[in-house]
């Protein structure tokens, strides 16, 4: 793993109070308590600067809330299990980190706010986790809520923003998600000795998930989250979110040493204490069925009088995807990240507007990575050489040479905006929608620009591009000296 990885290890812990308040009443609850105790020793000896918690039972509506009270104190009582007793607490929170986390959320398009109010009700799961894992309050904590309306993209970005904040402050963290596996509890009173997983199906799914966790396959579980929600989650909220957040904050891969320290029933739900430590080796390839998300562009502008995905006047907001891609292509909005929020991002008015949540280019070290760009004209969105199909999807004749020239001109514009030029191009990947028809014309135009440059090149045929164009180029170039 990279030395810059800010995550020491991750923990998955149950939200119920039984391991804290009643470990002696049921052997399984006692084993969960023992697992907490084992993790406590690891947390305390980890050298962590911070314990960062995402709690699925701290709901929020106005974006996400981040606990920032330097001294959060109260005596908490669970809504359901109040007869098990009270939970007095006094937790130190890292207010400086909370503010950084909030800012990083905002930079990625999320709405977030810190809260620091005496008497704010910290949720049962967070109280249990911090009481058992950090009983002497030696490591400051930060807790982030789970927005009731949030789905995958928002939760993923929330995790990435946490990682941004840790890196920005140079802090090492133990991250914790507070969540059940299966969350169906018995809806009647049971004696502690009678506790068991609510159903055979829930138990089987839980054990399958635990196999994944034990193998360190965090990103695979993230990709399975929608299935998990459908199979073993009571529909209290719209989605099973904790592993989306956990995977995003821990790096979106399967390279962990996983350890299931305990798995027991908690009034019928699946409670587990699981540890994931970053490792050099992965058990196998991760499964990416869904897109990665860097910025959130959801319905956060509703209050401004707009409708989600409302388009900006005069821009490409009415453009519809071609080739069977459903939906509006203009995801850009006035809150798009800029070079001011991410200094390595390059965006320019001299190139066509992106049709998604991405910049024109990013600089990493001495290299420039350009997003794929086609021939659309920056100001008008017209396609030199004509579109490849009409609004009804019927094919049109078009000029591949003109499209290729315009495409290269757009590459050049982005490079110039980055302080580079075509001579700096090192590698090109070209996508053509009709190799047989267009390769010759494209190749001829290409040579007039790149014959002397001798960039490496790969040309592929694809079934469609997201606007009615025939060619798109993806470029890596040498960055100018800083």
């Amino acid at each position: 793993m990279s030395e810059e990885n800010p995550i020491l290890f991750g923990l998955y812990t149950p939200p119920h109070p039984h391991p804290l308040l009643a470990p002696d009443q049921n052997p399984g609850w006692g084993r969960l308590r023992a697992a907490f105790d084992t993790c406590r020793e690891r947390v305390q000896s980890s050298g962590a600067d911070l314990i960062l918690i995402y709690s699925t039972i701290w709901p929020s509506i106005i974006g996400h809330q981040i606990q920032a009270n330097p001294r959060a104190e109260w005596t908490h009582v669970d809504d359901d299990f109040h007869d098990l007793g009270s939970m007095p607490y006094s937790f130190g929170m890292d207010a400086e980190f909370a503010a950084e986390y909030r800012d990083r959320c905002e930079a990625r398009g999320l709405h977030a706010r810190t809260i620091a109010y005496d008497g704010f009700p910290i949720d049962t799961g967070s109280v249990v986790a911090l009481s058992l894992l950090n009983p002497d309050d030696t490591i400051p904590a930060c807790i982030v809520s789970s927005n009731v309306y949030a789905n995958r993209s928002e939760t993923m970005v929330l995790g990435k923003a946490a990682r941004d904040a840790l890196i920005a402050q140079g802090k090492k963290a133990v991250v914790i998600v507070v969540a059940s596996l299966s969350n169906r509890m018995f809806t009647e009173h049971i004696e502690p000795a009678e506790d068991r997983i609510h159903s055979q199906k829930d138990d089987e799914w839980n054990r399958k998930l635990l196999e994944f966790f034990a193998d360190g396959r965090l990103e695979d579980i993230s990709q399975l989250s929608r299935d998990i929600q459908g199979q073993i989650r009571v529909q209290k909220v719209v989605a099973y979110k904790p592993v989306w957040w956990m995977s995003a904050v821990m790096g979106q891969h399967n390279s962990y040493d996983g350890e299931v320290l305990a798995y027991e029933a908690l009034h019928g739900s699946g409670g587990a204490v699981i540890s994931l430590t970053p490792a050099a080796e992965s058990i196998g390839d991760k499964e990416f069925d869904e897109d990665d998300v860097e910025f959130y562009r959801g319905d956060r502008n509703v209050l401004e009088g707009g409708v989600a995905n409302e388009n900006r006047d005069g821009q490409i907001g009415d453009m519809q995807a071609s080739a069977g891609v459903v939906g509006n292509l203009d995801e850009s909005d006035s809150k798009a990240p800029t070079s001011q929020t991410f200094p390595d991002i390059i965006s320019t008015d001299s190139a066509p507007n992106p049709v998604g949540a991405y910049p024109h280019a990013r600089r990493v070290g001495d290299l420039l990575y350009l997003s794929g760009v086609g021939p659309r004209q920056p100001s008008s969105n017209e396609i030199p050489g004509g579109p490849i199909e009409d609004d009804a999807g019927l094919p049109l004749d078009y000029d591949i040479e003109a499209q290729t020239k315009a495409c290269i001109a757009n590459v050049d514009a982005i490079l110039q905006a980055s302080g580079a030029r075509l001579d700096d191009v090192l590698d090109i990947t070209t996508f053509l929608v009709d190799m047989k028809r267009d390769f010759s014309g494209y190749n001829e135009v290409y040579a007039t620009y790149f014959n002397k440059i001798q960039a490496t090149r790969t040309t592929l045929e694809v079934s469609a591009l997201p606007t009615p164009i025939a060619v798109e180029m993806k470029v890596i170039a040498r960055a100018p000296p800083i």
């Binding site: 974006g63 008497g119 704010f120 009700p121 009173h189 509703v302 209050l303």
Partner: protein
């Protein structure tokens, strides 16, 4: 009282003297700036606050012993719970809107009635539990609705939790269970000999905005979340005015699912069942959106001589 009954006394039956649909957006307390609440505001949401004030005036003229509140913000998954200690005093901080609601409360509970309803509910076959932990914090829904209906906290209350059968099963199951709960509470109230005001503490449509205006009480930013919610809310209010409460309960599943309504907690169903499904017009005291949700204040008065057309 128990001795009198044992001797075959003719103690008058208890009765429900009023039922109130009393939504609990903390914004309404925030806007009022009462001494108990820490944040201060410049006002806002007057249509609802004036409506609440009118209903509070009516309530002040009615003789009653206890307010019984059904709140969706005490969510329980293992049956229905009842407050079971005589006093609760603490600070209530809204976990969703802590910037608006940090309210110091000191309330009394009618434990006798609470236990009677608990007993009747258990006898009806429902899962139920008394809450007797003195450190328990009363939810902000209860506090908001009670504060606005009875600003002086002049009467004891009983809070009933919202069993989340809607989450575990469906709105239909919620309707059935809340109906059984309401009927059980009706029996307990009748046997108690007390005069009781019922409160269903909930909004109608319940899709929120997920951003907040820089000044939360900026009324230029307030509107219903979408037109569909508004149409549904108006349909419900119209049926209330027409006394079609059975019909409302019948379409509750569709309404609740279409508008993500806070009726999913069961409060309105519970109250209507406890009041034997009123077929007379409700008094409407106001309707307004709060951060996108639809909120109606309404009252059902069994006493025809007191009943009036408010709006």
């Amino acid at each position: 009282m128990k001795r009198e009954r044992a001797l075959g006394s003719t103690m008058a039956d208890g009765e429900i003297v009023l039922g109130c649909l009393a939504p609990h957006p903390p914004h309404l307390v925030y806007a009022e700036n009462p001494a108990q609440n820490q944040p201060s505001s410049e006002g806002g949401w007057e249509m609802l606050r004036w409506g609440y004030a009118a209903l509070a005036r009516k309530l002040a003229k009615i003789e009653y012993d206890t307010i019984v509140v059904f709140t969706p913000h005490w969510m329980t998954y293992i049956g229905t719970h009842f407050l079971g200690l005589p006093n609760f005093k603490s600070l209530s901080v809204d976990p969703i809107f802590p910037n608006l609601f940090r309210y110091s409360y000191d309330l009394t509970v009618d434990v006798e009635l609470s236990e009677a309803m608990h007993k009747a509910t258990a006898e009806a076959g429902l899962v139920t539990k008394m809450m007797r932990n003195p450190d328990f914090r009363v939810d902000y829904g209860t506090i908001t609705s009670c504060h606005l209906l009875d600003p002086n906290w002049s009467k004891p209350i009983v809070t009933i939790s919202s069993n989340r059968s809607r989450d575990y099963y469906s709105v239909e199951v919620m309707n059935e269970q809340a109906t059984a709960l309401g009927q059980a509470c009706r029996r307990a109230i009748k046997e108690s000999g007390k005069k009781v005001v019922l409160v269903s503490s909930n909004s109608l449509s319940h899709r929120h905005f997920t951003t907040e205006a820089p000044l939360p009480e900026d009324m230029s930013r307030e509107h219903i979340y979408n037109h569909s919610q508004y149409i549904w809310d108006m349909k419900m209010v119209r049926m209330m005015r027409e006394g079609k409460m059975q019909e409302i309960i019948d379409i509750m599943p569709e309404f609740t699912e279409q508008t993500i309504a806070e009726t999913d907690g069961g409060g309105l169903t519970w109250m209507m069942a406890a009041m034997a499904m009123p077929d007379y017009p409700a008094e409407i005291y106001g309707y307004q959106s709060v951060i996108g949700t639809g909120n109606a204040i309404a009252a059902w008065d069994p006493d025809e001589t007191r009943r009036e057309v408010v709006m």
